[in-house]
Symmetry: C2
Subunit: 579 residues, 2 copies
């Protein structure tokens, strides 16, 4: 909490330059204490990132070093431009599986690395343009159930995809759940004993370090903070132990990462071929937008804890630039990773200097230590991936969504099944389409209350829930929903039928207290209603019209069409005037 207050004291308004290059804002206020936290967090995150980066690159169907390259320049660019002080940008599992699926659709003649670079460049350009145009709201179309359904399905795909590597089965990659299961089943007999052993031992080590070991160490009196380091270093331990096992045991029949070129590639901008770019465009947009939505949601949560500011639009620019940086440095698409960011945050990161330190350390590995990784078995990396993604599974979230809202629950399931059965892009498309449809369906049958006045007061309430006074010639209707094309016909036929069934009504007062907007379909319906009611000697009135809605109506013919009907400030005023 001490650190928080510190941060508060420094949270003055950023200047113009500081708004566009947020790092200037922090560096100007940088303290010794910040450096301590950033250094620790930077080192811990680097220990986690090196094996994860390579693993995610392999998951994406790319050479292991691509994951290292994507962990250097992109986080540095994000550090300069991003508004989150703790988001850890780099290769992430979900983007990796999306890259893998996009690559699998391409003809064999296309170089996977070139395709990955193209994906990163397009995703970056799209996010950057969205940010510059200020249309970040496009990302809103990815609702929580769609995202949750997608991520759970992606985890299943990733695990199935890594099973062959983990067990040494030699089967072709498949992209639908049925294809994957078939190929895994058919190759089961070819399981490679030693490979499987390494994989299983790695998983066991990672799972033990994830909880039991930490609990044991804290029980032995070691501070929890220090004990957690063991858990975070577990992937590195797996890398070291499995590499040693292969080298010392001379297990040359186990599939390993192989030669990794030493050094870092010079940044070069290779403009992608038009045809390839067009083919990859939908995948690239989804990779960019999914990464953005996930990153911002993590960033906001963490910023909120320290009362820091996140500018969603600036995040588009920063993540867009980070992906472009990934593209020009022979990397892959990047985003803010959930678990890595949490580790970075809880290890004490105060600013993006932590991320820069991490990047420098990863660069050092790429420059000097890659020869040591040649005999790193792929099954160990598969184990790291499987354990990492399994933490994204949250069955309680699914149950809660289902319980809270059946429609959202169905959208979640449909997205997950779509992604598993027919692929990531069509699955996401189905989910987004269903989200949109559910939006309309929800608004289609709004709650409508017939109202009366609580005797002796000015308050109007639902006649069904309260004892109220009513007047036979007046009908007060309150619609609890914005008036749109989704419910215009419903409303029109509701009023029309109320009039048909109660011949004594002479005034209908629509109470618009809950109406925040009216679209042209609803306006048309109200105009028709006003005109046709008049012939039946019924006058339409409005009451409790909100300011912005009134501004809208003044641009329409409705106020003229309801004449001699009026607009009353409240239902009470209407009752006084009309009864």
């Amino acid at each position: 909490m001490k650190a928080n207050n510190k941060t508060n004291n420094r949270s003055a308004r950023p200047t113009r330059i500081e708004r566009f290059i947020p790092i200037v804002f922090w560096l100007r206020r940088y303290t010794h204490e910040d450096l301590h936290g950033d250094l620790t967090a930077g080192i811990i995150t680097a220990i986690m990132l090196v094996p994860q980066g390579m693993a995610f690159a392999i998951l994406a169907g790319l050479p292991a070093q691509v994951g290292l390259y994507a962990s250097v320049l992109p986080p540095i660019v994000y550090a300069l431009l991003g508004t989150s002080r703790t988001l850890a940008v780099g290769p992430v599992s979900v983007a990796a599986i999306m890259v893998a699926q996009a690559l699998s659709d391409l003809p064999g003649s296309v170089d996977p690395l070139m395709a990955a670079v193209t994906l990163a460049l397009i995703a970056g350009a799209v996010l950057l343009l969205m940010g510059l145009a200020g249309i970040g709201l496009v990302a809103n179309f990815l609702s929580h159930p769609v995202l949750s359904g997608f991520i759970h399905a992606a985890v299943v795909l990733i695990v199935l995809n890594q099973l062959p590597t983990l067990t040494g089965i030699d089967v072709p990659v498949e992209w639908t759940i049925s294809g994957l299961m078939n190929s895994v089943a058919s190759g089961l007999a070819t399981t490679h004993g030693i490979t499987l052993l390494i994989g299983a031992a790695s998983i066991a080590l990672l799972l033990l370090a994830g909880g039991p070991v930490v609990r044991l160490l804290t029980r032995l009196g070691i501070p929890r903070r220090r004990a957690m380091i063991v858990s975070r270093a577990a992937p590195l331990l797996v890398v070291i132990l499995s590499t040693l096992a292969v080298t010392l045991g001379n297990l040359h029949f186990v599939a390993t990462v192989g030669t990794i070129p030493q050094g870092l590639p010079m940044p070069t901008l290779a403009l992608p071929e038009t045809q390839l770019a067009m083919e990859l465009l939908p995948a690239a947009i989804l990779i960019g937008v999914v990464g953005y939505v996930e990153s911002v949601s993590i960033a906001i949560t963490l910023a909120n804890r320290r009362r820091q500011h996140i500018d969603a639009n600036q995040e588009l620019i920063a993540l867009g630039a980070a992906n472009l940086a990934g593209g020009i440095s022979a990397g892959m698409p990047v985003a803010g990773g959930f678990s890595r960011t949490m580790v970075n945050f809880s290890a004490g990161a105060h600013t993006q200097l932590a991320a820069i330190i991490t990047a420098v350390l990863v660069a050092a590995v790429a420059l000097f230590f890659t020869p040591l990784l040649e005999t790193l078995p792929k099954s160990a990396l598969a184990a790291i991936i499987i354990v990492a993604v399994s933490r994204l599974i949250d069955p309680r979230a699914i149950v809660n969504t289902w319980r809270f809202d059946r429609v959202d629950g169905l959208v979640l399931l449909a997205t997950a099944l779509g992604v598993l059965a027919i692929g990531i892009e069509p699955g996401l498309a189905i989910g987004i389409a269903l989200s949109l449809v559910s939006f309309v369906v929800r608004a289609a049958r709004p709650h409508v209350a017939v109202m009366g006045r609580i005797r002796g007061t000015e308050h109007f309430r639902n006649v069904r829930r309260h004892k109220v006074e009513t007047w036979p010639q007046l009908l007060f209707l309150r619609v609890d929903e914005n008036l749109t094309f989704a419910n215009a016909a419903f409303l029109e036929s509701l009023v029309s039928n109320k009039l048909a069934s109660r011949g004594d009504i002479h005034h209908v007062i629509l109470v618009l207290a809950s109406v925040n907007s009216i679209d042209s379909t609803a306006l048309e319906a109200l105009e028709r209603l006003a005109e046709s009611s008049r012939e039946a000697e019924v006058t339409l009135h409005l009451s409790d019209v909100k300011g912005p809605v009134m501004d809208q109506l003044e641009r329409s013919k409705l106020l003229k069409a309801i004449e001699p009907g009026q607009v009353f400030l409240s239902a009470h005023q209407a009752a006084e005037a009309l009864r």
Copy 2:
């Protein structure tokens, strides 16, 4: 008004049988006066329907008699089942052009009549099923701007489509605006003088009868009601005069309707081929739904004028059955026609007996008078179509839509351009998709007010608009929109940034007076907000939560997540408790 009161007195609640077969309800209460009106209206509508029916069949690319067949059984079936007493069901121009476009996509080997029958059967079955399942709200997806954009584009397509027939140019049918214009332009030199003369004279006669003649007659002292009959008989007059001209002038080089078989086809149910049915399915659904939406909108408007009841779901069943009747009687898809219904209504129709009389008269024409129509020139029918559809054009409606709401204006234009440039089905699909997107975009940046209390009262108002008292440690926020995936991220980042910029806030009170529903994405955002705020020593509270929303929240973790935050009945109560 007298008739209206009559109707009122008779508007008892329908019995169960009367609800399913509404004609029973009217017939039980049928009066002598009703018969007088129905007889007049039935005859006048028949006079209008015979030439229109044939014209719309030719527009659809079908033999002229199909239009007559579609004017007999379908309106009788609707009369039995429909809840509108004045809707005139039969061939309509918009459905005709949709049929024409659907037929043009089929291979040449398919019999157009069989395809039209298939369209009618599928459209009917779809509407009937929707009605039986009670899911009429599917029709809501066709918003006013989409429908208006579509109809205006359809009118342009129809007029261009009929120009060759009107002028005698012999060019192939084209379905995009550019194709149509090219083919008309290239064939211009082949214009057939006499054909054009007949067409132009017909248009002139129809236009004159539509207004000037009526005005002249009323000025000469003839009652307006009787003068209007001239206007309504004009199409029949065009048919008689042009047929006589061709016969007496021996103009056998003018394209005529040709031999029309005498009699009516026996109803037969020819189940459509599966492959053809699948190909026509999207077109059939659109034809059914567009026809339904148009019909119900007319029906509600007219019912409202006489305080009659329209049951939207029963309308689905009735129009579905009418289309099935069209399908089994060698007809084409049908709907309630706008202009014909208006004529029927204003000619005094009280019940659907008028429609039955019309149908009997059309049947008589088909049985006995078709030989007289053999030399009816097609250009005269083209003139009737062009004048009829030009009445659907309403530039003021377009301007009003644009003025009232830019987004809806853009949806209208995009639909119209889509229909013209790439075709009816994709154009409508674009329009519907944009409607859905606009729905989300509208909700994306809700109006949010920071609130304070008007001194000495319990009322809270926007601090920007009113002089109010506020408390530094309390932040009252009222969101004027339902909380959904469209604005969850906006809201989260808004609150988060308010907290970052005002370090003294300790309580955030979300005033949910305008919130009618919360979806799971928004719920997730609120839960994250509550948890992350707590770490920054800020408590989240809710106030003015509506009943249905509270029911929702009680199924969620939110009320637990905001603890020690509370749910207050009003902002005033929150202020009293927290300040």
